[in-house]
Symmetry: C2
Subunit: 446 residues, 2 copies
């Protein structure tokens, strides 16, 4: 008998936020500025050192989190008991829901420094409350997708499989699997990601399974008994040559694959490929894992490897575990009711004020050459030039999440968008050596 599942309200996302978002709302409610119309923009000032492009991911998760960004009794009680905000603010929060507009880059789209990735238009109070949650999701998910895209680029037509959940927070692991698939990974070992987003899941056995048994032949026989030839046998617990021989003896020459998880993978893969072919297992594939990153994948391009299992490096962004995305107020209504661009003075953290939109210049052959960021008074600028592909989509209108971006469909569409968007970049963009952004960003004013 199984434990029973209860249908219940999804947990609130409203406290996944920094305290100062709420204290700012308190002061702004008291002085009347909370209702000023505002435009907030998510962008990054730079890519991680040497990277040529970034990949937007997490947009679907932001939109999934928005409807549950509500302050229910439990949240209000915590805020009241701990005197985080006053009663006027608690009343406002009790009735909070986002009623504004969000425009942004499609999930999976590539981006560059200064790309206006998400634009939130609402009252100050409605928009500022979303800052922390929006940044948490976009910064982590995009860091993973940006690394994952370098890996799938290096892997070419060979599938990459995400197996890194154990090296990330248990819920970040689910998001990482999702982001990896957005950036072209073929599947994940993470079951919750499989359930939640309809992703393909993979996985057969660890070294513990071999060690559990009295000897390797017993372990392989057990696995073959249970899964037939449609399984992957891990052959490097003891001697690899013996392991390969035993694998084919146990599962037959129709065995799906063997996995190598240690050693000089290129050299070992060559030896194992020869051995498998000699044994008649010409269709048995070789999966490699063991601290792979995009550089290791690239180095294995000439080796007879069929797929890559990637762990730590993809879930930690391969050296760049977060994006530097910020959520900045770029425009607001003044005391006379007129919208004005705003920006702070700090030299090292300069931002460009005003509402923006963006388009990518793509020539007739499909090659991208420029990120065009346009500032202007228009609410949603659409480029007139035919070679400019608009990048801003309406994601939320009047507080209503637009269809097509969330759930499993959202992931599928984001993966398609990523493949198409990356294909517009020159081959230079896929080089793993340090370089400048693949295309320049140009700011123009309407």
């Amino acid at each position: 008998m199984s434990a029973r599942s209860h249908v219940c309200t999804p947990p609130s996302t409203a406290l996944l936020t920094d305290r100062y978002e709420l204290t700012m709302v308190q002061a702004a409610l008291a002085d009347g500025t909370a209702s000023r119309r505002c435009v907030f923009e998510v962008f990054t000032r730079r890519l991680p050192a040497g990277r040529r492009y970034g990949v937007v991911a997490g947009t679907g998760r932001v939109l999934e989190a928005l409807p549950t960004f509500r302050f229910a009794d439990a949240e209000l009680e915590y805020l009241r008991e701990n005197s985080i905000v006053n009663d006027q603010t608690l009343d406002f929060l009790a009735n909070y829901r986002f009623t504004g507009e969000i425009y942004g880059y499609a999930e999976g789209e590539v981006f560059f420094p200064g790309s206006p990735l998400l634009t939130v238009e609402s009252s100050f109070a409605e928009g500022v409350l979303l800052e922390t949650l929006v940044l948490s999701i976009l910064n982590y998910d995009s860091a993973v997708a940006s690394a994952a895209s370098r890996m799938t680029g290096a892997a070419g037509s060979r599938p990459c499989l995400e197996m890194g959940g154990r090296r990330a927070h248990e819920h970040a692991a689910v998001a990482a699997a999702r982001s990896a698939v957005v950036a072209g990974f073929a599947g994940t070992s993470n079951l919750e990601a499989g359930r939640r987003y309809g992703l393909s899941t993979i996985g057969t056995a660890a070294h513990a399974f071999t060690l559990l048994h009295d000897d390797e032949p017993s372990a392989f026989a057990s696995q073959a008994d249970s899964f037939g030839e449609h399984t992957t046998l891990l052959v490097d617990t003891y001697d690899i040559t013996e392991g390969v021989r035993r694998a084919i003896a146990a599962a037959g020459t129709g065995l799906d694959a063997v996995r190598l998880d240690s050693g000089d993978l290129g050299q070992v893969a060559r030896e194992v490929r020869d051995q498998l072919d000699d044994l008649g297992a010409t269709g048995t594939k070789i999966v490699v894992s063991s601290d792979l990153d995009e550089h290791a994948i690239a180095a294995l391009a000439a080796a007879p490897v069929d797929s890559y299992g990637v762990g730590t490096s993809v879930v930690t962004g391969s050296g760049a575990p977060t994006c530097g995305m910020v959520y900045k107020l770029v425009m607001r209504e003044n005391s006379a009711g007129v919208m004005e661009p705003v920006q702070k003075a700090s030299a090292s953290k300069a931002s460009v004020g005003g509402r923006k939109s963006a388009a990518r210049r793509v020539d007739a052959s499909g090659r991208a050459s420029e990120e065009v960021v346009m500032s202007g008074a228009q609410a949603s600028w659409q480029p007139a030039e035919p070679d400019l592909r608009p990048l801003h989509l309406p994601l939320v209108l009047d507080g209503v999440v637009q269809p097509g971006f969330t759930g499993a469909d959202g992931v599928t569409r984001a993966a398609e968008r990523h493949a198409a968007s990356r294909a517009e970049l020159s081959p230079y963009a896929r080089r793993l050596s340090a370089g400048d952004p693949a295309i320049p960003t140009t700011h123009v004013s309407a």
Copy 2:
């Protein structure tokens, strides 16, 4: 009117796992090895390059996640519909609950390469299913605590405040705040972490609040109206000298603090301190933030700074966003019912077989000199020598989580343990330059 809260079963943690844990259970159930008694051990082969110690964190979260590691109808349905495992396995999973023993290092304890951080003793099936979740939690939380401890060490008696949630997955942010506090941080900006673990929360205003207003004096006046002098005014949106003058004009010389978030923080802090003193605001503190890590904190030791707001670097482990902890089968019952140590052969991933326990050698003056890891047949070895402080505590007995490790109490105790444990290390251990582990690890056999 607020949205209503529903009491409901906490969500299952059972699918926050890799598929292969379940497929191994399927094959082991079929061949009878699933019930073999096993010992799994969590350890790390090395510290991040140059680090002198690590900090165990997440133990309390592992214990909080254990009771909800159950396969309810929703989880079983997903596994069945996607043919992840067969009916025999589904029946086993439906009745799964962990009934074994878990021993381990207290949360907050420092650790070294080879330290047996957690020992799980149970049947193979019961223990292997926990692998991914246990590692996800310990690897992330310990990465954050290990970085955070370097920061609090560098900060000395000045408080460190965690503000990095926006640079981590939204739920990882909550765990990061918790881990930072385990390692000595005084508080966090994250409200959910405050609610869940009883942590102190901090936060007043961002640049957006100043920009929202027609001018800086209006913004400061509003904040002072709402929070009185017990607030922190952010003074670097425009000109800092003018900002400081306006801050004191708005809130008076009793103002709690000003925050600096850009520029050469050491130089600016000196100028601001002089200006505050000249204005008579001798008790107004200076909080600095802006991409601080342990090195930046150390560099500010001589500057008149009162507390440090730390963001990105703490939630991403300051260059080491995960620990390399693994969960290895080190001992199991053989077909004759006898417990045997096991280990795989791969040279690059060698592990030491057998059940282990550990103690730290601490001399009469309280200085630690050695990590003693003992392998032997005893279930739970306790050192006889008086200068050996035992490190293994019973965390779960007969499947029952022992009291004192979870919730807010668990965090408080872990923070105390960390302070005491770090105090046993020589001053060398707090040096930030690259070095070897602070004490050697010695393996002895009973």
